[in-house]
Subunit: 155 residues, 2 copies
DNA sequence: TCAGTTCATATGCAATTGCATCAAATTTGA
DNA sequence: TCAAATTTGATGCAATTGCATATGAACTGA
């Protein structure tokens, strides 16, 4: 086993701490403005990005990194509030499509006013020109299974 | 209100996603190895860093970014497991000191074997030389209230 | 074609978190 | 010096999450 270097440990610690701090600040702002949690926004945004405003729960799950059972219940709550609707998936009775309602679209737009401002305040304003780009690039290296490994370009 | 630039939004999104992905991977490893969650480790580590192995809950709270009531209950669980002990704070009967036990120290050490390896695997191995340093520097800009503002260096 | 497997979603129950509030001890300030 | 305010920590209760498993639908392969 390989011991991580000091700078790696520090990067990890800061990743977690910065993420939590910024997320807490942003969530706070939303809550004070009377909005639901960020996870609701994430769902609404993913749906809004689809031309027909529909996605399967499975797809949503991977996009917003939610556990299946948690998403199922989040959708329950959002459906109760009239923000989304469950509609049958043509040709497969196991599956379903989650569809955003007009109320859902409206909420997403209202939330963005508050959310976007918070992102600018707690992220944008703290970084100099080019640093956001740089940060994004570095973070993307931590994501996904980028271990090509056994078959990188094999024919 | 200021709209965040695209690169800022992307950096924010990746901050959250990368944090979650890496944290999930690491927590998974710990769980599979039969260890408690990371929050337990955080507490043990903070205590171990003190020469006498003691800190007040208030101090812990800010160091590990835990809500007071959540920390109170986390300490309940850890105390039940014999990893920490609550001892009276001399001169103030409201306060207390959390003290790490020998079992707590032992657990911290065992956890580090697994935890350190995971950090190296999911963070260190994904970054080239110097990138961890760079990432840490960028992330630190997002933290703390760096708005000196009203009294920066006033006499 | 049908028994076994896999897939998509839901749900009961326990653990954890969030919120509001409490109780006790200390500090403040008139 | 004492009432009011503040600080520290705990706790009842509701909401959320995690885990295990259920339910029903669709594939798979002899």
């Amino acid at each position: 086993m390989q011991e991580p270097s000091e700078s790696v440990v520090k990067a990890w610690a800061r990743l977690i701490r910065a993420g939590r701090e910024v997320a807490a600040s942003i969530e706070n702002g939303l809550k004070e403005a009377g909005f639901p949690p960020l996870s609701w926004y994430d769902v609404l945004l993913e749906l809004r990005r689809e031309k027909d405003g529909r996605v399967t729960p499975r797809e949503l799950e991977t996009r917003i990194l939610f556990e299946q059972y948690n998403l199922s219940r989040l959708l329950d709550r959002m459906e109760t509030e009239g923000l989304v609707r469950r509609v049958p998936y043509p040709g497969d009775k196991r599956r379903q499509l989650i569809e955003i309602t007009p109320e859902g679209r409206a909420l997403q737009q209202r939330m963005w006013k508050s959310y976007g401002a918070a992102i600018e305040r707690f992220v944008g304003a703290k970084l100099a020109d080019g640093e956001a780009e740089q940060l994004g690039t570095l973070l993307s290296k931590l994501m996904e299974t980028q271990d090509v490994g056994n078959c990188g370009g094999c024919s």
